[in-house]
């Protein structure tokens, strides 16, 4: 059970198989709440981008040899922002250790890929990673910004 106190504060929770088919539902889980919290549609589009990048990475890389699971937990952050926790039990991976891409490379020198984590950093307001037992826990803070 996700929580045990009966008078709980807003604590939304979604767990589904880590497959691309479930991406729309994961996205709706976060964007519905962002909309209810009064995020502007511009900011919601940025939130969507961050979630897509983080989830697609888990879907693509976290479970190389088995079916895996993915859990989202949404809390209200400071000043009406959102605090999103993304958990998986795949390969231990800290996105904060990934180097930023070289944005000045010429077309033919630019590697294909390597932008996902970078976009997560650019459009989120804060990013933490920790390992909890056999779980990766990535916490992303979204401020309202253009409210």
């Amino acid at each position: 059970m996700p929580s045990t106190n009966s008078e709980q504060i807003a604590n939304d929770y979604l767990e589904l198989a880590a497959t691309l088919k479930n991406l729309p539902l994961f996205m709706a889980f976060v964007t519905d709440r962002a909309r209810q919290s009064g995020f502007s549609s511009k900011r919601i589009a940025e939130v969507e981008l961050v979630i897509e990048e983080a989830l697609v990475n888990i879907i693509d890389y976290a479970y190389p040899d088995r079916e895996g699971w993915l859990r989202l937990n949404l809390k209200t952050g400071a000043e009406g922002g959102l605090k999103l926790e993304i958990k998986d039990r795949g390969v231990a991976f800290n996105p904060l250790e990934i180097e930023d891409p070289d944005l000045r490379a010429e077309l033919m020198e630019r590697p294909v890929g390597g932008l996902g984590v970078f976009l997560i950093k650019k459009f989120s307001d804060n990013l933490f990673w920790k390992q909890q037992g056999d779980e990766n826990c990535l916490t992303i803070i979204f401020k309202k910004r253009h409210a």
Partner: protein, 110 residues
């Protein structure tokens, strides 16, 4: 996402992208460009005025196309990007490696 061939202007194929270019649809662009390139086309103008959303999977598809077209000495221009899509492009430095035009006319008059 929808990809629609609009017209041929001189040597360039003009196509429109609409909807979302994401992890679920990025492959459609790669496939369609593959078909056009196999058919001998080398110069492309992509009208992005109806493209509402792009993620790194979309950037990946566009970068792959741009590299392939460059190696054929062809050209790829993007035109009329919405603000949010344009923002993702500049943050990723794509505006420095792929010609981006404010309007479709600007691209056509190139």
């Amino acid at each position: 996402m929808e990809i629609k061939e609009l017209k041929s202007e001189g040597e360039a194929l003009v196509a429109t992208l609409s909807g979302r270019m994401d992890a679920m649809t990025g492959g459609e662009f790669t496939d369609q460009m593959g078909i056009w390139i196999e058919a001998g086309l080398e110069n492309f103008i992509i009208d992005c005025s109806k493209l509402d959303y792009i993620s790194s999977a979309g950037l990946r598809a566009i970068l792959m196309a741009a590299k392939r077209i460059k190696s054929l000495n062809g050209s790829l221009q993007l035109a009329a990007l919405q603000e949010s899509v344009n923002n993702v492009f500049s943050i990723s430095g794509f505006d420095k490696i792929i010609p981006i035009k404010e309007t479709l006319e600007d691209a056509l008059n190139q």
